[in-house]
């Protein structure tokens, strides 16, 4: 596909369950980002990969959140023991280059997580 693909589009989890969210970036894109977006708010940074290396995970809200990109393409964001405050849209974005300058982010349509 031409764009960033995220699955599932919607996920309902019971409190305490583990969830895994998948992101397929644009082929050849070096950088991959995960963001969390609450209703009516802008995206909040979670973590950043350059190829398979996780260079910044400063935005992960707790040690229940874990992300990986083992082969430098597909990425998975895992949330363990989900809590109600984890309910949000999780956006994945990729960019062609590194450096936060010349390459804009290309976003997927997100996974809407609802924890009941």
């Amino acid at each position: 596909g031409a764009g960033v693909s995220q699955s599932p589009r919607y996920k309902v989890a019971k409190r305490g369950q583990d969830v895994a969210l998948r992101c397929d970036p644009i082929s050849g894109h070096v950088s991959l980002f995960w963001y969390q977006q609450a209703l009516g708010q802008g995206p909040e940074f979670l973590t950043y990969f350059q190829n398979e290396a996780q260079l910044d995970k400063s935005g992960l809200p707790s040690d229940r959140f874990f992300a990986e990109r083992p082969e430098g393409s597909v990425s998975t964001l895992k949330i363990q023991r989900t809590q109600q405050e984890d309910s949000a849209v999780y956006l994945c974005a990729s960019s062609l280059e590194t450096g936060f300058r010349n390459s804009p982010l290309h976003f997927g349509n997100g996974t809407r997580l609802t924890v009941t």
């Binding site: 910044d56 300058r101 349509n109 997100g110």
Partner: protein
């Protein structure tokens, strides 16, 4: 603390009524200022990148400008299809997003 603030939070315009959206930033060592459009249920869609004060970029009815402390997105003679949330992001060592301006253009 690096941050980005957008105003107004919401804006209602009549079709054809021009206006501007504001994005102020306090990111040190700015590398780029990015504007995105987000439709309901979709991810943000890239519009513009600005790099230095005085720079301007245009696309159809949209024009983005940049100063040392803020950026403006000017919308000229908007149409209902311009209704969306407009996000700006300032980049240094990461991309810092504002909360967006929700624009509603009435026919």
């Amino acid at each position: 603390e690096d941050q980005v603030t957008q105003s107004p939070e919401a804006l209602r315009l009549q079709e054809g009524e021009s206006s501007s959206l504001n994005c102020s930033y306090t990111v040190s060592g700015l590398r780029g200022l990015f504007w995105y459009r987000q439709d309901p249920g979709k991810g943000p869609e890239f519009l513009f990148t600005l790099y230095s004060a005085g720079e301007e970029k245009e696309k159809e009815r949209l024009k983005a400008t940049l100063t040392k402390k803020e950026s403006f997105l000017h919308i000229t003679a908007p149409k209902p299809e311009d209704s969306a949330t407009y996000l700006c992001a300032a980049s240094f060592n990461k991309f810092y997003f504002g909360s967006g301006t929700k624009l509603n253009v009435k026919p």
